[in-house]
Amino acid sequence: MKKLLLVVILLMMTGCAMFSPTPVKRNFPAVPSELMESCPDLKKTEPTEKLSEVLKVVVDNYGQYHECKIKVDTWVEWYNMQKNIFESVK
């Protein structure tokens, strides 16, 4: 009877491992397409003697930097937010 009991307990324990869990498929969300575009190269000044022409190019380049900074900042923001959401599923 004791042997039978042992066999029963053993069988019950292997029975628990009989089924493999069904995996729940998850994908990390895709980043908005706007953020996937790389930052353009800085503009170069055409040969000129006018300071105003040089200034225009410099101002344009500052603008490009600011746009690029926004892109990187938004990327970081997006990643942190999505990471929090992704990790909230446990």
Binding site: L4, V7, V8, L11, M12, M13, T14, G15, C16, A17, M18, F19, S20, P21, T22, V24, R26, P29, A30, V31, P32, E34, L35, D41, L42, K43, K44, T45, P47, T48, E49, K50, L51, S52, V54, L55, K56, V57, V58, V59, D60, N61, G63, H66, E67, I70, K71, T74, E77, W78, M81, Q82, I85, F86, S88, V89, K90
Partner: protein, 148 residues
């Protein structure tokens, strides 16, 4: 075994309980039949069959409990994933809007500054007579950065 996940809970439960109780019933019957002379020859068979069915039933009952637990966990996870996916989409839309708005502000500022330059263009050029070509070259070199 993964195919069992397609079998409905109720059917699986009925089969498992059916096997288990049939086994127990046969085991009890095997003891009763020992006292009924015409059934004595079947007593041994009933006991063996009853034992086997009881053991198999217990085995399946253990498996069934685990299976149900996993199904509940999977359902819970799927629900959480659904909610998180909806949140992700919402965040993407928000981020896209924020990005577009921020870039718009930068572009508008650029237009304002370029207009300001145009307003004082003549003054700037007259007060600074000539920009040395070397200055432009240095500026372009700096703009080019490190090229691979």
């Amino acid at each position: 075994m993964w195919m069992l996940s397609f079998v409905p809970d109720a059917l699986l439960y009925t089969v498992v309980i059916g096997i288990l109780f049939t086994g127990i019933a046969l085991y009890i019957i095997s003891f009763v039949t020992r006292f009924i002379p015409p059934l004595i020859p079947y007593s041994g068979i009933a006991r063996i069959l009853g034992t086997i069915l009881t053991v198999v039933g217990i085995y399946f009952f253990g498996s069934y409990s685990t299976e149900i637990e996993w199904r509940a966990r999977v359902a819970e996870l799927e629900e959480q994933v659904k909610v998180s996916e909806a949140k992700s989409k919402e965040i993407n839309i928000q981020i896209q809007k924020v990005y577009v708005d921020r870039v718009k502000v930068v572009k508008q500022t650029q237009i304002v500054i370029q207009e300001k330059i145009k307003e004082v263009e003549i003054k700037i050029d007259s007060e600074c007579s000539k920009v040395a070509p070397e200055a432009v070259d240095i500026l372009n070199e700096a703009a080019a950065g490190v090229k691979k």
